[in-house]
Each structure stands twice: as structure tokens, then as C-alpha cells.
């Protein structure tokens, strides 16, 4: 229901006249808006003033290697103000290029916004660290910690991708994570096997998802309502069982054996990349596998084509002989199983017991990541990483003492998401049939 188009001028840029970026969007016939250039310029100026001119005179120090690495790299030392000025000038350059493209009636290419974002984050980081009492952080630790914090987010957003791509809005990610965390804890405690717990978490997530599927597909209840209510239901049931069962006999029901960190020899010693890729728990490795499998599945297989068809145009899919509601049901269930595994991360890897509301609203951040990642598994993965990064940075800046209050750091993912859905930073479009029940006619 976008009511006001800022410039109803149809884009007449023909593909032929656009030299190197011709294939991006020029042929789509959509009008090129002023939005992106304006937002980029504004952000560039903000960066120049705050991160550059008002940056501190200290030198920000970023440790790259950790003690365990098999070769050591020197720490990166950047004078905060100079670094801020250089990066923001680069940003302003990119913004100017976007403005130039707009005057040529061509949209800003994707690489431009991505580069801009990376520069902005880097400038921000230099500014934050440069202004701190102790202007030194371990970049390796920061990034590795971000990945760890992002694990449940990635699983959650993959669940969302699977559901929304098939046309079911999944607000119940939070409930699926929580259900997975609870079940993993209790089953792993009883069986004394974390792997059985992991499996049980997947089943629990799938069970929560099945309720969503049954109510939204069979009974045609609005999907958002079911999602919201399911979150409350799972929170209530797990909270109730936690108080009655788990706290009565903590040793038996709430002391799950954890999943250990599995280090791959040699490879885990590579600076920065090593801890991220080769020093993870089983759940962490599963995350990488899941992202790749879901991406390949959705975009490179027949199954994925069908799934996307159901999410974009169920009638057409039905006409082609695809069972719309069955596809939806099984996809939603699969999504729940994936989110359930993500939930097990809380109780099997991060903390060694279950507490009430252990997922702490991360299901909603996962939802944000999915939107920010534009309903694409890879995009959602990187968005989740970004949010994990913000989360981790927030706890680090409170330790090193910076000018930015930690609450604003915590607010960042949500602000960014608002900007994303409001179309200020690119345009995110959900699958066309997302949220609409399908009644076979």
C-alpha cells in the first residue's frame, strides 16, 4: 500500500546506453528514485562530521592474531581521526557517484551500497574504539564472538526464509527457538547425550511449526495471529515446565551435557578465519551446512523452484500440478526443525542449563535478519552476522568504555531493520503470496 510515489517518472534508461552497469536494473522500467543517493550522502556527511572531524585524537588498536594462531600478524593501528576522515571521504565519493548515476537515470548498483555499508561499519568501529578509555580491542575476538552470537539468529532466519518463501509468515521463530532450547536441555539431561538432545530440539521446533502450519493452512487462521500466539504459548509451557519439573530436580532434568568445541587441526590456527570457520561446535558447523544447503535447495533445485512458485503465485503453481498446501506444510515443518536446532545452541553450547525466556527476543532479531537479508539464505546469514556483530560490540564497548551508550548499540539492529523495511536502504520485497492463505478453488 505505498501511497505516494515520489517521482512517477518511468525510467527510460535503455539498457544499451548504460555501459558497465547496464544489466543491473535499467531494463526493469522502474523509476530511479532519489532515495538511495540522498540517504547515502546524508550518511556520508554524518560519518565525516562525527567519525572524522569529531573523532578522537587517540590511535585505535585492533589485535588480529590470538595466542593460538600458528603465525602472528601485527596489530592494526589506526589514528582515529585520520582513519575516520579517509573512510568518510571514500563514502562521500561513493555517494557522489550514486548522485551522478541518478542524474543519468540509472540506479545505484548493489556493490555500491554494500561497499558503503562496509566502510560505514569500519569507520564506526574506528570511531567507537578510538574514543574509548582503552582504545584497543581484539578484532579476532570480536569477529569470532559475533559468529557465535549469530548462530541462533542464522538458524532462526533460515526458518523464516523457508516459511516465507513458501508463503507462510513465520512470526513464531522465537517460539521455535525457545521450544528447541527447552527440549534440547531436558532430553539431553535425561539421556545424557547432547546429540539426542539436538535431535529432540529439531523435533520440538518442527512440532511448534506444525501447529503454525495446521492453523494457518487447514484452519486458515491469520498467520501473524498464530505466530504471535504461539510465541506466548511456548513461553508459557516452557516456563511452566521449567518451574514445576526442571527446578524440582535440576540434576536429572536440567543439566544437559554440552556440545564441545571441535577444533580442526592446523586450519583453526589461521588468524581471524580459523576461529570462525574451523573452531566451532557441532551446531556452528551445522549452521554453515544449513545455509549452503538451503541456498542451493531454494535456488538450484527443482524443489526450490516449486517452493518459490508456491510462495510467489500459488494459483499458477497449483495449475502446474504442485500441491500448494502440502508444500507449504512440509516447508514450514522443515523450517521449524531448523529453528529448533538453532534453539539447542542456547542450552547445549552457550549456557549449560535452561532458564525462562532463554531466547530473549532473538527470534525477532532473526525475523529482522531475514528481512534485511531480503528473503535470501545468504543475505539472511550476513544480516544475522551483522546483528551478532552489533550484539557483541555492545558488550565489548561497555567493557572498554566508549562515548556511545551500550543501549544504542543494542538498538542498532532494530533501527537498521526499520530503515531496511522502510526502503531507505535498498528495497526489500517479500514473496508475493507471503501471508495469504491458499484456498483451492
Amino acid at each position: 500500500m505505498s501511497a505516494t510515489a515520489t517521482s512517477p517518472l518511468p525510467g527510460r534508461g535503455s539498457p544499451g546506453t548504460a555501459p558497465e552497469t547496464g544489466k543491473i536494473q535499467a531494463a526493469s522500467g522502474k523509476p530511479v528514485l532519489w532515495k538511495t543517493p540522498v540517504v547515502l550522502s546524508a550518511l556520508g556527511i554524518v560519518a565525516f562530521v562525527f567519525f572524522g572531524l569529531m573523532g578522537s585524537g587517540q590511535t585505535a588498536k585492533f589485535g588480529i592474531s590470538t595466542g593460538g594462531d600458528f603465525f602472528q600478524l601485527p596489530a592494526l593501528e589506526i589514528p582515529a581521526m585520520a582513519g575516520g576522515i579517509v573512510l568518510s571521504v571514500l563514502m562521500l565519493g561513493l555517494a557522489a557517484y550514486a548522485v551522478y548515476l541518478k542524474t543519468q537515470n540509472r540506479p545505484a548498483p548493489a556493490w555500491l551500497t554494500i561497499t558503503f555499508t562496509v566502510l560505514f561499519v569500519a569507520a564506526f568501529l574506528i570511531w567507537v574504539v578510538g574514543g574509548a578509555r582503552t582504545p584497543s580491542i581484539s578484532l579476532a575476538g570480536l569477529i569470532a564472538g559475533s559468529v557465535t552470537l549469530a548462530v541462533p539468529l542464522v538458524f532462526g532466519s533460515l526458518s523464516g526464509v523457508l516459511c516465507e518463501r513458501v508463503g507462510v509468515v513465520n512470526i513464531a521463530i522465537e517460539g521455535q527457538l525457545l521450544g528447541g532450547a527447552f527440549t534440547a536441555a531436558i532430553v539431553a539431561s535425561i539421556t545424557q547425550s547432547p546429540f539426542v538432545g539436538l535431535l529432540a530440539a529439531a523435533v520440538a521446533g518442527a512440532a511448534v511449526s506444525m501447529v503454525l502450519a495446521v492453523f494457518s493452512i487447514k484452519y486458515l487462521v491469520n498467520q501473524i495471529i498464530v505466530g504471535v500466539v504461539l510465541n506466548v504459548l511456548v513461553s508459557g509451557v516452557t516456563g511452566f515446565l521449567f518451574s514445576t519439573v526442571m527446578q524440582e530436580n535440576k540434576a536429572r532434568f536440567n543439566s544437559p551435557p554440552g556440545l564441545d568445541i571441535v577444533e580442526i587441526p592446523v586450519l583453526s590456527g589461521i588468524p581471524i578465519i580459523g576461529p570462525i570457520l574451523f573452531k566451532q561446535s557441532v551446531v556452528g558447523y551445522l549452521m554453515y551446512v544449513a545455509v549452503i544447503v538451503v541456498w542451493v535447495g531454494l535456488f538450484k533445485t527443482k524443489w526450490g523452484l516449486r517452493v518459490r512458485a508456491v510462495g510467489e503465485h500459488p494459483q499458477a503453481a497449483d495449475t502446474m500440478g504442485i500441491k500448494v498446501n502440502a508444500t507449504r506444510f512440509w516447508n514450514v515443518t522443515l523450517g521449524g526443525a531448523i529453528a529448533g536446532i538453532g534453539g539447542s545452541f542456547f542450552t547445549l553450547v552457550a549456557i549449560d542449563s535452561f532458564t525462562k525466556e532463554i531466547s530473549g527476543g532473538r527470534g525477532f532479531i532473526a525475523l529482522a535478519a531475514l528481512i534485511f537479508g531480503r528473503w535470501n539464505p545468504i543475505g539472511a546469514f550476513f544480516a544475522a552476522l551483522l546483528f551478532g556483530f552489533a550484539d557483541n560490540l555492545q558488550s565489548i564497548v561497555t567493557i572498554i568504555g566508549t562515548p556511545v551508550p551500550s543501549q544504542f548499540m543494542a538498538m542498532l539492529p532494530y533501527l537498521v531493520t526499520v530503515l531496511a523495511v522502510a526502503g531507505l536502504v535498498g528495497r526489500s520485497r517479500p514473496p508475493a503470496a507471503s501471508g495469504i492463505p491458499y484456498v483451492k478453488g
Binding site: L220, V221, I224, L233, G236, Q315, L367, L415, T417
Partner: protein, 455 residues
């Protein structure tokens, strides 16, 4: 539940579609339960709410038993039964008697019955009437507590319900309560004004705070087309972190206090207690009743309300009819925010008298279930607010007396809403589904629409 506008509307729809019985029954359910068809309103005619199900024989008895009122009651009953089973499943006596279930099943069954009823009786005594109290004043104290807790639920629920009627999902009552709480509390403790004027200003500040926070969502939605569900969820968190930030600044933190808590509001800035100081019940409850009347009037008697409902029923048709959909979206979100803002004021100026980061508790989220249970009508929401207020108040007593955790309330609450949202499920469980004629012609009318849509 007053629902004046529905029957006419329903009958118009019911006649031309009477042939497509089976398909439509399910479709109709969707229309009602999307709370005014927020997602795809045009595709689904609303027939279910009248209880006149096409195809079933129209006997009076069947009408009564398949109507939405009965479904609501049955849904509550079913949720209570399931909640009771959950209580019983974790009860120790039930566990021991289940050991010799086959030898003496009556022991087991009575243990189940006792476990569940004991909790529910404690719930009732903690929320309505406590027979063990000395004197009527103490005996009715639980009821007063129920009304106190119901106050923010009702006003926030009205906000959610109003947005539902305009086809918008306002998940953001939580953030709107917080923003209202911030402004109202600040006016309450930072300004020192004469009696009367001060309280009025607190109320206005809260309402404005909520309205701005809600209206901002409406504005973003109207201007950019961003989905309000995502926006409101994100705005909830932004508001919460903003509050946490403020509570650590000198302007908001109580002097000499290291915890994030504001100064106590001036005595001139708090709601007077209605029945004296022995009960917490405050003026906010009267205002909640007034708000209910106001929303009823707005929705059913005013032009603006008609526009809201028209936009909710079918935005495209509303646009064609000359209604300014953007304006309606912004306005309805602002009013919804203002109503939630009243809850924020009730919290800081009525119940708590200070501002903490738990000012909204879970009222904003509960408000969604309240509005859904109330089927988005003003008085339905009012009644649902009272019911959930009773659950909340009683749960505290229940936990003290029987050790049943408060969380059971969440379970029962969410089950109620789930069941109410799926009337066919409830009817199927109680064997009340109307007998259907053979749906021979069922597909025909839908077929045209399908191909039309695909073209």
C-alpha cells in the same frame, strides 16, 4: 457483545455465495480471523461471525450452538481443560496414583481432578471473591485487584483492536506504552504543578507520547509501504532500549540510586484511588471505561470510524470510494498509540507511581490476545481485558496457595485465542460442525475468481 454493523453486512454477502458452501465456510473463517482481513481482505467474504452457517439446517438450537458466542465459551472451556491437564501432569499425587492406574483408576482420576480444580479455585479466589476474608471489604479485594490489572489491558487492547478493524496489525502496544510512560513519568516527577492541572498534563503527555510512537509507524507504512508488523516489533525494542538508556541518565534516574529507577511521581500527578487507599484501583479504570465508549462511538457512529472499517475491509475499494487511505492509516495508528498511551499513564500514574524498565510488563503483548479474544469489538475487548486481568490477578494467589506457576496463565490465554481463531476446530472437538449438503457446486463461483486472478 455489541456488533451492530455485522449482520447486515453479512447477509449481503451470504446470499450470492450460497452455492459455494464448503469452500466459503473456510474462507469466511479466514476473513473474520484476519481481524478485518488485514492481509487479503478482498478475497474472502465475511460470513462466519453471524453464526448462520450456510448449509446447516437453520434450527434455533443449532444456530445457538454454532454461533460465535458459544464458540468463544467453548474455546475458553477447552483451554481451561488443557491447562488443567498440564497442571495435573506435573502434580505429584497424580504421578504416584498413576503408578497403580490399572489397579485403582478412580484414585488417579480423582487426583487429576483435584490437582486441576484446586488451582482453578485458587485462581478464582485470587481474582474475584475470597470467601475466607473477614468482612466484605477484604472478600472483594481480589476483584479490585483484577480491575486494577485489567485497566492497562483494556486500553492497550482497545488500541490493538481499533487497528485490527482498520486492517492493521498493531503489535507495537508494548513500545507505545513505554513511550507514553516515559513522557508521562517525566511530566509527573520533573514538573511541579498544582493539583488537577498536573494530572491532566501527565495524561496528555502520555497520550501524545503513545500517539506519536504509533503514528510514526502509520506514517512509515503509508509513505513507504513497510509492513506494520515488522515496524511495530522493531519499534518495541527501540523504545525499550531508549527507556533503559534514559533511566541511566541524570534526568531520569532517581538521585542517589544506582538502579535504573526514576523518582516517585508527585502526589499531584497520580490518579486518585477510587475506593479509598485500601485498594489499588485508581481513576484509570474509569478512564478505561470512557475509552471503551469512545472507541465504540468512533467505530460505529463517526465518519472517521466508518473510513477505518472501510479501509480494513478493502483498502482498494476504500480508495476508489474516495477515502484517503494514507490518512486513515496514520490516524488509526496514532489513535491506537494514544489508547496504548493511556495504559502507560495508568501504569506510571496509577499502579506503579515510578518509571522502571518494566513499566510495560507484558501488557502490550497481552493486549494483542485481549483484542483477539474480544474479536476486535470495543466491549468484547473490555470483557476480554477483565477476563485476562482476572487471570493475572488470580495467578499470583494460585502460585502462593497451590504452587502452580503463573506461567499457566500464559498457556491458557494463548490456547483460548488459538481456539477462538479456529471455530471449525472447536466445533469439531465438541461435535458441533454443521452437516453439509453435498458441495456439488462448490467450486464454480471460486473458479472464475481464480482464473481471473491468475490472468
Amino acid at each position: 457483545m455489541p456488533d451492530e454493523d455485522r449482520p447486515k453486512h453479512v447477509d449481503q454477502h451470504a446470499k450470492p455465495h450460497e452455492k459455494s458452501v464448503a469452500a466459503e465456510e473456510t474462507a469466511a473463517v479466514a476473513a473474520v480471523d484476519t481481524a478485518g482481513g488485514a492481509i487479503s481482505p478482498s478475497a474472502v467474504p465475511a460470513t462466519a461471525q453471524s453464526g448462520k452457517l450456510p448449509g446447516g439446517p437453520d434450527t434455533l438450537l443449532r444456530k445457538i450452538f454454532t454461533g460465535s458466542g458459544v464458540v468463544s465459551v467453548l474455546a475458553v472451556l477447552l483451554a481451561l481443560i488443557l491447562g488443567g491437564l498440564l497442571i495435573a501432569a506435573t502434580d505429584e499425587r497424580v504421578a504416584t496414583t498413576s503408578g497403580y492406574l490399572f489397579a485403582r483408576p478412580t484414585d488417579f482420576l480423582s487426583a487429576v481432578w483435584n490437582a486441576a480444580t484446586r488451582s482453578y479455585i485458587a485462581l478464582f479466589q485470587g481474582s474475584v471473591f475470597n470467601p475466607r476474608g473477614s468482612g466484605l471489604a477484604v472478600q472483594f479485594a481480589p476483584l479490585m485487584e483484577t480491575l486494577t490489572i485489567a485497566t492497562p489491558l483494556i486500553t492497550a487492547g482497545l488500541g490493538v483492536a481499533l487497528a485490527f478493524r482498520a486492517g492493521l496489525f498493531n503489535i507495537g502496544a508494548q513500545g507505545q506504552i513505554i513511550m507514553a510512560g516515559i513522557l508521562a513519568a517525566w511530566v509527573g516527577f520533573a514538573l511541579h504543578l498544582p493539583l488537577g492541572l498536573h494530572l491532566l498534563l501527565v495524561l496528555v503527555a502520555g497520550i501524545v507520547g503513545g500517539a506519536l510512537w504509533g503514528g510514526l509507524v502509520g506514517l512509515l507504512k503509508a509513505r513507504t509501504g513497510a509492513h506494520e508488523v515488522i515496524l511495530t516489533i522493531m519499534f518495541n525494542y527501540i523504545a525499550l532500549y531508549f527507556l533503559r538508556y534514559l533511566l541511566n541518565t541524570p534526568a531520569f534516574q532517581r538521585p542517589g540510586e544506582s538502579n535504573p529507577i526514576s523518582p516517585i511521581l508527585d502526589p499531584t500527578a497520580v490518579y486518585p484511588q477510587i475506593f479509598g487507599s485500601q485498594y489499588r484501583l485508581h481513576l484509570g479504570f474509569i478512564l478505561a471505561i470512557a475509552a471503551t465508549v469512545l472507541v465504540w462511538w468512533l467505530l460505529n457512529r463517526s465518519t472517521v470510524g466508518f473510513e477505518f472499517r472501510a479501509v480494513g475491509a478493502n483498502p482498494k475499494a476504500a480508495l476508489t470510494a474516495g477515502i484517503n487511505v494514507s490518512r486513515s492509516t496514520i490516524l488509526v495508528m496514532a489513535i491506537a498509540g494514544a489508547l496504548a498511551g493511556m495504559s502507560g499513564v495508568a501504569q506510571v500514574a496509577g499502579t506503579e507511581k515510578v518509571l522502571t524498565d518494566g513499566v510495560a510488563a507484558t501488557y502490550g503483548f497481552d493486549a494483542i490476545t485481549v483484542a483477539l479474544l474480544g474479536r476486535s469489538t470495543p466491549w468484547g475487548t473490555f470483557a476480554a481485558g477483565l477476563l485476562f486481568g482476572a487471570f493475572r490477578a488470580g495467578a499470583v494467589q494460585m502460585q502462593i496457595q497451590t504452587g502452580t506457576p503463573i506461567d499457566i496463565v500464559l498457556v491458557v490465554q494463548s490456547l483460548i485465542v488459538l481456539f477462538i481463531a479456529a471455530p471449525p476446530l472447536v466445533r469439531a472437538i465438541f461435535g458441533l460442525n454443521p452437516r453439509r449438503k453435498k458441495p456439488a457446486a462448490a467450486g464454480k463461483s471460486q473458479q472464475a475468481a481464480t482464473t481471473g486472478g491468475a490472468a
